[in-house]
Symmetry: C2
Subunit: 305 residues, 2 copies
């Protein structure tokens, strides 16, 4: 990627993250909305802890830049991006629970069930998932009802039993069931891919773009979703190699095979370059307007942290 | 309540429950929908276990009969009723978890985390909540997008931090915090009241009824939601009295005060009669069309199981 593009991408990612952080805080600090009775402070504090955590906010960036491709107004895209981040953060809160991955720390901070308790973490996750649909359906997005309903539906499909939550189930089973390569690809397309795909597709829906563009953006999302996971696996693999002086295939040994561990770092890097090319090709029709999204694809596939 | 009305109500409740059961099974057995990648069988089995449990399906009944007040087509109301039941059942699955109420049995069957495992129960609950919004937003409801978006929003408000999930949080805190009467009323209006209120309001939204009717039905829902809880508390209280030969105020002793335990059975019965009158008065404008809903109000307030 050109150095200028990279700088522009990092600047935009940072700026969007700041805007999302402000909006999420505003939503979580809002006075009672019509239909609400009271917001228990402990629950709200747990939700804030899980959401306002200094993440990179990659998914929100993808929503906003996908919408910008079609010169859509930024405010609706920002709200949909915030909703998507609520879904992402709820999934992390539930994933960290003792019954799931049992993690005590996330980004150097205690996980929600550690900072509060398990029951509060379960409920905070539930409330964030619910809040996401509240945000999308609300007239405050300043989108026609048709688009709000389409976004609710696409988000529910990406997050539900046939998407992210289904992928989490497959991931839990993977330790026992040892999926083959096709199984791993499907698992990852669901667990991490579905929300990234939605992020890109959502921009097109927000903008009211034609169905062909919506499909093109969704495909772009699928490509970088897969690249995101491969890059993650590659980082694990090479970190192990560095630490141990050889390929330990730690994930594979732990029962969770990754494509990178199965096929090695060289194959993985080749795949990643192919995915960057594919992602960039999908954005060709949008010319210069797509420079930031192209840089995002390169960043996702080549990041080293 | 007139004996005929009671018979008609029980017949209708049974018929609606059967229709809901068929639709829920159909939805949970459906082939992959657009946007879905795969539905892991273990997850789907856990969702079915939590949903297809032979419940009375009171909330779906309220949606369908509220819609029928305005002569709305039955099919959209049935789908919204199914979505609401998914939300109700997800809340029971999460409520039963060891970190929450830690219940092994529900309706004589193992709870979802007992029949499967905790992780699967958490994910099945998450997937059912997500599915509810999928159902509401889907064009298959045959409702205009404006109504689908309004229903998503009202459901999210009823189920979220300012409604049901907030009420569950308050309920967990009640053991330590000992809320006063106003606190108990608020807790119950959120934990059990909000979804029942939504059920009645949803019928009016499905039918595209004017705002005044929507508000009237919501108030009717609030009245019977409170009656539902008071009747529940009264059953606990009198069961204790019968068993122990005196008012044991078991719930109060366990740290969870109820209005019935605080004020005694006579006061509670008086309140329940007042709520029946209030609920019936709210339905006066609808004349004979409201006979089944009136009978439902009486049933909710006077049930003895």
């Amino acid at each position: 990627m050109m150095k200028d593009d990279q700088t522009a991408f990092e600047t935009a990612l940072f700026a969007h993250a700041a805007a999302i952080e402000v909006l999420l805080r505003q939503i979580l600090d809002a006075p009672l909305l019509s239909g609400e009775i009271a917001r228990p402070e402990r629950l709200m504090a747990a939700m804030r802890h899980g959401v306002l955590n200094g993440g990179k906010r990659l998914r929100p960036f993808l929503v906003m830049e996908s919408a910008a491709l079609f010169s859509a107004d930024g405010e609706p895209a920002l709200r949909i991006a915030a909703a998507l981040e609520c879904v992402h953060c709820y999934s992390l809160i539930h994933d960290d629970l003792p019954a799931m991955d049992d993690d005590d720390l996330r980004r150097g901070q205690p996980t929600v069930h550690k900072a509060f308790d398990e029951a509060t973490a379960i409920l905070a996750g539930d409330a964030l998932l619910t809040l996401a649909f509240d945000i999308v359906a609300d007239e405050a997005t300043v989108l026609p009802a048709e688009r709000r309903a389409a976004l609710v539906l696409a988000l529910a499909r990406a997050a539900g039993a046939g998407g992210m939550v289904g992928g989490q189930t497959l991931d839990l089973e993977a330790e026992r069931k040892r999926p083959d390569e096709a199984g791993i690809i499907r698992l990852q397309a669901m667990k991490t891919g579905a929300l990234i795909r939605f992020a890109c597709e959502a921009g097109a829906i927000v903008a009211g773009a034609p169905a062909a563009d919506r499909e093109r953006l969704a495909e772009f999302g699928s490509a970088i979703g897969l690249a995101f996971q491969l890059a993650d696996d590659l980082l694990d693999l090479t970190a192990d190699e560095k630490r141990m002086g050889k390929a330990t295939k730690k994930d594979a040994a732990a029962g969770k095979a990754t494509l990178a561990a199965l096929n090695g770092p060289d194959w993985t890097r080749e795949q990643l370059h192919g995915l960057i090319d594919q992602a960039h090709a999908l954005l060709e029709p949008y010319g210069e307007q797509a420079a930031l999204l192209k840089a995002a694809a390169t960043f996702v596939a080549t990041r080293n942290s």
